[in-house]
Amino acid sequence: MKLFTLSNTRRAVQIIAFFLLVYTSIFLTTGIDIEGLPFVSVPKDVVRPEWYAPEKGYTEVFDTYLPIKSCRFIADENRAFRACFMHFANESIVWNSPPEEWIPHLLLFLFAALIFARAWCGWICPLGFISESAFWIRKKLGFKERKIPEKIKQYIPAFKYGFLSFVFLLSLLVILPIGLSAFQGEFSIVNCATCPARTIFPLFAGKFSLDFSFSNPVYFLFSIIGIAFLLVFISSFFFSRPWCRICPSGALLSLLNPVSFLRKEKEKEKCTSCGICERICPMDNTTIQEKKGDSINTGNCIRCFRCVEHCPEEDCLKVKFFGKTIYKSKYKEKTESLLDSTKK
């Protein structure tokens, strides 16, 4: 058994990231002078519903947003980051805050997302990690794995980008004078109200709350979607990362997948079409097995690189970082030969 396999490394990174994001207080004691850190100013004049306002104000340690679910519902006393980037995207529009306040956050996001794109999902996101762990527990308990049916799968991309657009559309509606005054303000909560993270993360601080309100039509709609999404997330126990296929954060990063600087490459002549990569993929990507074009950096790929790890053809799949190969496929169990020293 090799210890430093790619899977193990990724698992380690995920665990560390999980603790850093969810239990920061264990690692970082308070007392840090947060006034000295960037991005801490709190916008004041905000149109937002009462229960949505943060209890303590934004005074947490790093106080910015990550491209993945560094959720604001991670218990306040534990949390390192302000919220997830989707929340920011909403907020900055809704708050009508001056550009100098949100532009640094946006740049930070673009920088981080452009380099790694969905590798954030595969390596860092704590919600994705929980999802993966649930699936792993099922495996250990010996329950049968289920595959998302083809019939549903074909609509996933449309739904994913559709929902992403829906979220941004609603955020815009908050500030446009369209005369829906009664509920307009509530539109801003669409992101968090529908997000499963809101229920899942508090669990890790020992709090359980099913916070769904049905008191007005907007809340009603959001709560219905939210419950549906929560169920999708819970099905992680049987399906591999079901929520990640429609998650708006993931969808946003998906858009950058084809252009990011951490990417995969495939030498198609070396591929034997054995289908191992397709079977091993946690996101059920079928394109990785194909031999045409740049079909392997598609939006649905979370860059876990399991396909690269398990491909039995040497050099067939490669991971490139700024054009440099940092990892490549190889037949793992092959006994090392003395060839390299004697050849040529």
Partner: protein
């Protein structure tokens, strides 16, 4: 119970789906024709052919000593062993049948594709003259009651090429035959689904045949065991890349041929020993051919023990085969079964895909993977030329030759297409062509310098 079933049947029609019997049934049966009297005579003939091959192979200098094991197995010691073991034996054709399932049920698998010239004649009485020599040869083994065909209680034939399909039909007169439905397009999800279903049926049939349930544990163990076999085999292939060719193609094919019927665990051990020796030889600069020998790649139809005619000729012409691309050589054990989840469905899926998706058999409509692999092998093994070997009447390989030729022209690698069968009639003519091919390569190399 019976009453209930009857009521159900009356109400709903026949809904109790009986498992289909896998045995191929002919309505136009014929009296099997056999020649038991000749068994001994032919047994000697075949042994002779093997001995002759071995003698010429053993006389080559620097032949690895670990080959002795394979020499011993191929000259008959395995037959007694199988008989003594008392286990069930199942024979199969082509390289699509998952040995994992057979090992899990404690059944001994034997690949029956044969390369004996001697047994062809007798098959010609039953099959037409103009079919693939491999099919005729294999059929002859049954008619004559020869080992190892005789040990098999059942023959499993995939619907790969036309000759194999029809051979299955006629073989059904002689012994129980299972036809496995191999899809004609391998790169489609539907095909994989069909093949997976076929694998489940195969598993059920094997269970019934062996009188033993295949547990998840047993399948896991056998998969891991055969994975080790592939590991060792991959190492062997890797060693063949050495500049000084460390093992002749004949020896290589013999090693693979022995895996057709040998015990997997013992075979793996001995291949590892062979690899160790080869590794040492490479280190000390010992090879079986001199350094500037022309390196060739052999692709196309199967060259099965003891029909090493084409290899003989190439060897006599002073060229070496660095690697082959054939379902009885490099590709028989090449692909690993990579299991994502050690559950029964997980194992079955991995096994089914391993035998279908990466196959390079020309019986598939689109076989571009074979061409990809060919250019890869050319680069990896630094070959100077390609021998495209076609067993006479194999249309599939013949038709693909055109594409291969064009691809190789682009790669600037010369190719010689050889159409032949098991008989020795055309040896002279082939030698001349292969000599000429060698001259051409030499002239090209001169030109390049």
């Amino acid at each position: 119970m019976q009453v209930l079933n009857n009521v159900k049947r009356a109400l709903l029609g026949d809904v109790t789906q009986e498992k289909e019997n896998p045995i191929l049934e002919r309505r136009y049966e014929e009296e099997p024709y056999s020649e038991p009297g000749k068994t001994e005579e032919f047994r000697k003939k075949i042994l002779n052919a093997s001995m002759q091959n071995l003698k010429s192979m053993q006389s080559k200098k620097n032949r690895p000593k670990a080959m002795a094991y394979f020499d011993k197995i191929v000259t008959g010691s395995r037959e007694e062993e199988i008989k003594k073991s008392g286990k069930k034996v199942l024979g199969y054709f082509c390289s699509f049948i998952p040995e994992e399932i057979l090992y899990a049920a404690d059944v001994i698998p034997i690949r029956l594709c044969a390369g004996s010239f001697d047994t062809m004649d007798v098959a010609e009485g039953i099959l037409p003259r103009d079919v693939c020599p491999m099919v005729k040869s294999s059929f002859g083994f049954k008619v004559l009651g020869l080992p190892l065909m005789e040990l098999c209680e059942i023959a499993v034939v995939p619907t790969s090429c036309d000759a194999k399909k029809k051979m299955g039909y006629y073989l059904a007169d002689y012994m129980p035959v299972w036809m496995l439905h191999l899809p004609h397009k391998k790169d489609s999800d539907k095909s994989v689904k069909l093949w997976l279903e076929e694998m489940y049926d195969f598993k059920d049939a094997v269970e019934k045949f062996a009188g033993k349930k295949i547990s998840k544990k047993a399948l896991e163990d056998s998969t891991k065991l055969l994975r080790k076999r592939t590991d060792a085999f991959r190492r062997f292939l890797e060693l063949r890349k050495a500049k000084l060719i460390p093992i002749s193609e004949k020896d290589f094919l013999l090693v693979v041929y022995v895996s057709f019927f040998d015990d997997a665990e013992r075979w793996t051990k001995n291949v590892s020993l062979l690899c160790d020796e080869i590794e040492k030889n490479i280190e000390r600069g010992i090879g079986v051919h001199s350094k500037d020998t022309i390196r060739l790649l052999l692709t196309g139809s199967a060259t099965i023990w003891p029909n090493f005619k084409i290899l003989d000729i190439i060897e006599k012409a002073g060229m070496a085969i660095a690697v082959d691309q054939s379902c009885v050589g490099t590709w028989h054990l090449y692909e690993p079964v990579e299991v994502e989840e050690y559950s029964l469905p997980g194992l079955m899926q991995a096994i089914a895909e391993r035998y279908l998706s990466p196959s390079i058999c020309p019986c598939f409509t689109v076989n571009d993977d074979r061409f990809d692999n060919l250019t890869e092998l050319i680069k990896a093994y630094e070959v100077d030329g390609v021998i495209y070997h076609i067993l006479r009447l194999c249309q599939l390989f013949d038709m693909e030759a055109e594409t291969v030729k064009k691809i190789l022209e682009k790669e600037n690698i010369p190719m010689l297409k050889v159409v032949t069968d098991y008989s020795k009639e055309d040896v002279g003519q082939l030698s001349t062509r292969i000599e000429a091919f060698k001259e051409m390569i030499l002239i090209r190399e001169e030109g390049e310098k």
